[in-house]
């Protein structure tokens, strides 16, 4: 199991959000989620520049076993996507909290962060 960094906030649907120094927010899926999916073979990422609303399905992650929608934990503009995932989606399995990030958002309303689960609450949920 990958160590869960303490500065992450989570959606119940297993996405994490991390606020960066420049005010942007990076989004990925949890170690628990990648474990449930198994070997990941494709991702579909959102378009850079698109406007997304909290809990829109904006990306898809597909493993050998199943395809799953990825929801955005925050509203805002997509600033950047992790192009490396297109060729090497297995990075999500090996590094869900670092190299396996999905996209970065310029949040419209940073207050939305407080509506997310903290690490402890998420761990409790994912273990139940």
């Amino acid at each position: 199991m990958a160590e869960v960094p303490n500065n992450l906030k989570f959606l119940e649907s297993h996405e994490w959000a991390r606020t960066e120094d420049d005010g942007s927010v990076t989004v990925g899926i949890s170690d628990h989620a990648q474990g449930l999916l198994g070997d990941i073979v494709f991702v579909e990422l959102p378009e850079v520049g698109s406007e997304v609303n909290k809990q829109d399905d904006v990306a898809v992650v597909e493993s050998v076993k199943a395809a799953s929608d990825v929801y955005t934990p925050l509203s805002g503009e997509v600033l950047e996507v992790n192009e490396a995932l297109n060729d090497s989606p297995e990075i999500i399995n090996s590094s869900p909290y670092e190299d396996g990030w999905f996209f970065k958002i310029k949040p419209n309303n940073i207050e939305e962060l407080s509506e997310l689960l903290d690490n402890e609450a998420y761990q409790e949920l994912s273990e139940s």
Partner: protein, 347 residues
């Protein structure tokens, strides 16, 4: 949930356990892709003791099997061999698929799927009554599959046997068959649980990796083997399930269950064929396929670890052309129809 005698091994060795037809089985031990590749390139072992082993007693077993199975048991009487056959009901629809093994003399063994074990147990008993054949359902049997290009080397360390495909060797406490569900050279080793435990531990000590059900599924699909319950059910007959070759009508006097229904069937309007696509994404079971003048449905679909793309089986109208289309998350996907054995076709 039911457990095989190796359950504790699976749990203690990283097996991600799932409910498979009422059995707690390992779906993978970490990465199904690594396990798949290990079998294609080297060797792996599978615990498939959840499958059902039936032995028979009585002097009329040949007659019983001639009637029970659409494939003709007489094909394997001359040598100790295994024979693949579907199991049909009297409407000619598929109840299961299985392998029957000739143990020697007039003795036979059937190994069939896990999800159909109770159905088959009842069915065999009902049919066997007419032939004074007794059915022995060996619920505690061990089945270990040793599969991969190096399987022979590892088998030979333990047993002095050389087996051609679909041949078997029946020793005192273990039956070895050169059969499998991966498309590789391989063996299935049937014994009681205590002997199975020794064999399993021996293979693990030799460094052979255990392989879970998820890799078993991608391996069989690359080899074009049907999965009962997905690619064929009791709603399908053999001719629309790529199993016409198992229906042996060569002996006019042999009356097997489902024969008259199959003879009455109108020309088969559907076919089970392979498909592959380079599109990003995986067309999975249940996805509709369409083309000019016809349509079909995906019965099994996966991402192929060997070929790095989406492959699968689909049941389509007989007039299918070279290519078809399907929808995947609102995207239009173009796919190619092909033979079912991807290991040969895509090589």
């Amino acid at each position: 949930m039911k457990k095989t005698y190796l359950n504790e091994f699976h749990v203690n060795n990283g097996g991600q356990m799932v409910d498979f037809a009422g059995w707690e089985m390992p779906v993978n031990y970490g990465s199904q892709i690594s396990e798949h590749k290990e079998v294609r390139e080297n060797v792996g072992i599978f615990d498939v003791s959840h499958m059902a082993v039936f032995d028979f007693a009585g002097s009329r077993q040949v007659e019983f099997l001639e009637h029970l199975l659409p494939n003709d048991i007489n094909k394997i009487l001359a040598s100790r061999r295994a024979l693949y056959s579907p199991l049909l009901n009297d409407k000619g629809m598929i109840l299961d698929d299985l392998i029957v093994y000739h143990l020697g003399d007039e003795n036979f063994r059937i190994i069939s799927n896990c999800g159909t074990r109770d159905q088959n147990n009842a069915w065999f008993r009902k049919v066997a009554l007419n032939f004074d054949v007794a059915v022995d359902f060996k619920e505690e049997a061990s089945i270990i599959a040793l599969q991969g290009p190096k399987a022979n080397d590892h088998l030979n360390i333990l047993f002095d046997v050389a087996l051609e495909p679909f041949h078997i060797k029946n020793l005192d406490d273990v039956m070895i068959a050169r059969t499998g569900y991966t498309g590789e050279v391989g063996f299935e080793i049937i014994s009681d649980a205590s002997r199975g435990f020794e064999l399993w531990n021996h293979f693990i000590e030799k460094g052979i990796k255990p392989v879970g059900l998820a890799a078993r599924d991608t391996l069989r699909l690359e080899a074009g083997f049907n999965l009962y319950g997905s690619d064929m059910t009791a709603e399908n007959h053999p001719y629309e399930s790529n199993l016409g070759w198992t229906i042996d009508m060569s002996n006019n006097t042999r009356d097997f269950i489902g024969k008259s229904a199959l003879l009455d069937l109108q020309s088969d309007s559907k076919k089970l064929v392979g498909f592959h696509t380079d599109a990003r994404g995986v067309l999975r079971a249940g996805t509709e396929i369409y083309f000019d003048g016809g349509s079909g449905i995906v019965t099994s679909g996966t991402w192929s670890p060997t070929f790095g793309k989406n492959i699968g089986l689909c049941r389509v109208d007989n007039n299918y052309p070279d290519t078809g289309n399907a929808k995947l998350r609102d995207k239009e996907i173009n796919l190619h129809f092909c033979e079912t054995n991807f290991l040969k076709y895509l090589k």
